[in-house]
């Protein structure tokens, strides 16, 4: 049974077409999507700026300066080399991490390079201002999305796999790996891997990211000591915040790649105007046999 109540067909044009217009993304979803995109980008880059103030990660309550989990530094050489140490193993990351060319063209001692941070120059307080403002925007936007999603039924439709999808889990994975995207009615809903990914991002990564951020605040530690228990200390929370940020970057990279591969303009039109074209599943005679061969 195809669920169609969330997609509606465009006015009939009379011809029985191979392309069918469907209304896929309601206004609230479109707005919150783009606000979220801006927030995530700013939070990432201002977060790297804040990280650069002390480019090292630890586990537990305090910083064990002699034995960080990960640290970026520069050598005394001329020009300096950038060194990134992960679990005690050092890597030469000159030009990328530890030492990179700043906006004045000179090599600078900095964790992440100028092009990746906001502001681009070393400016901890600037980074904090951006980060806190967009953290509020991100959280409020997220609540708006969740509230709308729950009330409208969109959230359930978008992220909860249906029984038939779970049954065909293996087939979905094969389709994904071979980059064959669903057509016809099947294209009206997200596939099972998409749904599970959104589920993990929405209800695991993003909440953990917010909680880990709050756990770094000394005042929040006084108000909610369980935050420290949850993450095993403030420095662990900082490490988790960094790792989850990296996972979110991974999510966005895959998301954007799939947007490009599965029909860039159609996807963009969908997220800008709401209207999405679904290609009719037209099976030329003999196609089934061909595939079997």
């Amino acid at each position: 049974m195809a669920r169609t109540y969330l997609t509606r067909s465009a006015p009939e044009t009379g011809e029985v077409e191979r392309r069918r217009w469907t209304f896929r993304h309601p206004l609230v979803i479109r707005i919150t999507h783009w606000v979220n995109a801006v927030c995530l980008l700013v939070l990432l880059m201002s977060g790297l700026q804040i990280f650069n103030a002390h480019p090292a990660l630890y586990w537990g309550s305090v910083s064990t300066f002699d034995s960080p989990l990960m640290a970026m530094s520069s050598t005394e050489d001329d020009p300096p080399k950038g060194v990134t140490t992960v679990f005690g193993h050092g890597f030469d990351t000159t030009g990328w991490l530890g030492s990179s060319v700043g906006s004045n063209g000179e090599p600078a001692d900095r964790g992440f390079p100028a092009w990746a941070t906001l502001p681009s120059d070393q400016d901890l307080t600037g980074g904090r201002s951006w980060h806190f403002f967009f953290a509020w925007a991100f959280v409020l936007n997220g609540f708006a999305y969740l509230l709308y999603g729950l009330v409208s039924g969109q959230l359930r439709f978008r992220v909860i796999p249906s029984a038939d999808q779970i049954r065909h889990f293996g087939a979905s994975i094969r389709e994904h790996l071979t980059l064959r995207f669903p057509q016809g009615d099947e294209a009206k809903r997200y596939n099972v891997i998409q749904k599970l990914t959104y589920l993990v991002v929405l209800f695991l990564l993003l909440p953990v990211q917010v909680l880990a951020g709050l756990a770094m605040s000394p005042a929040m530690n006084a108000a909610f000591p369980f935050l420290l228990t949850l993450f095993d200390g403030r420095q662990s929370a900082r490490t988790v915040h960094f790792v989850v940020a990296a996972l979110l970057v991974l999510f966005v990279v895959v998301h954007v790649a799939l947007v490009l591969l599965s029909g860039f303009w159609n996807n963009m039109r969908g997220m800008l105007t709401g209207w999405f074209v679904i290609e009719r599943k037209v099976e030329p005679a003999g196609a089934a046999e061909e595939r079997r061969a």
Binding site: R110, D121, F133, A135, M216, A219, A222
Partner: protein, 308 residues
Amino acid sequence: MSRFPSRRVLLTGASATVAAALLGGCDRLGNAAWFQRTLKTGEDANLFVQRLLLTEQALAPEYAEADISPWFKPNGTEDPPDKDYKALAMGKFAKYHLEIGGLVEAPFRLSLADLRKLPARTQITRHDCVEGWSAIGKWTGVPLADLLTRAKLKPEARYVVFHCADTMDQGNPLEGGGDGAETDEAAPAGNANPAMTKQAGGNESRKDSGGQQASEDTAADGGSPVRYYESIDLVDAFHPQTILAYDMNGQALPVSNGAPLRLRVERNLGYKQAKYVMRIEVVESFAHLGEGKGGYWEDQGYAWYGGI
């Protein structure tokens, strides 16, 4: 091979150009006064919401002796260049007096020996630098609430200001004469980190904290010397864990950590924990002090509220 750049090269080039333009745009936006004010509303919201969430008595987590960091990283000033401070330190602070004045009915002065005779509080707490690192230390000192109660605040009192001994490198350390060379070498200007080290130990700290090219800048304006100062409101001032500490980890506070007396205002970041406290002034507003933002680092753009 085609002599035209491939589509991939073109696309990469185009995206890099767009990204650079966006970045430059963000930097320009970040420098615009109206946008800075807008961004700062995020930090205003932090204060507002955290004050709603925290009861006045909610305590910062306290730790066990075993959790104490073997090395409590000193930060900011590690050895005040000021002649008068050096003289005090030379005499083991026997001539030190803490002054309490401003909007109080009964201003008074206390020597370090007097302070040590007053009821004390000991707490093992975590120190969180705005840079991101943490250390745990054991602090013993006089609850600020006791001193303020004794001084009797006037009704218009709203903030408690801590005036410190250490001259920051922003101005010319007029009184630091003898050791001028030491103070000239590093001069945080503009947007340096509150955590960065300003004096001789600076090089060592730079290695810890990676890129701080700001320390290579020289003091831009030869304005009047600026001494470190900080301010807190009465909620934090009367908090049971807010103490003026004279001992760290069971020993007299070392000079690098703020001898003879430093503020511990738990539930706040490191730059609020003023070191080398000489005078406490109760005020109605801090607009007339420094650049009017309520503290040395606040005057450099950092948020007055240090709870996050």
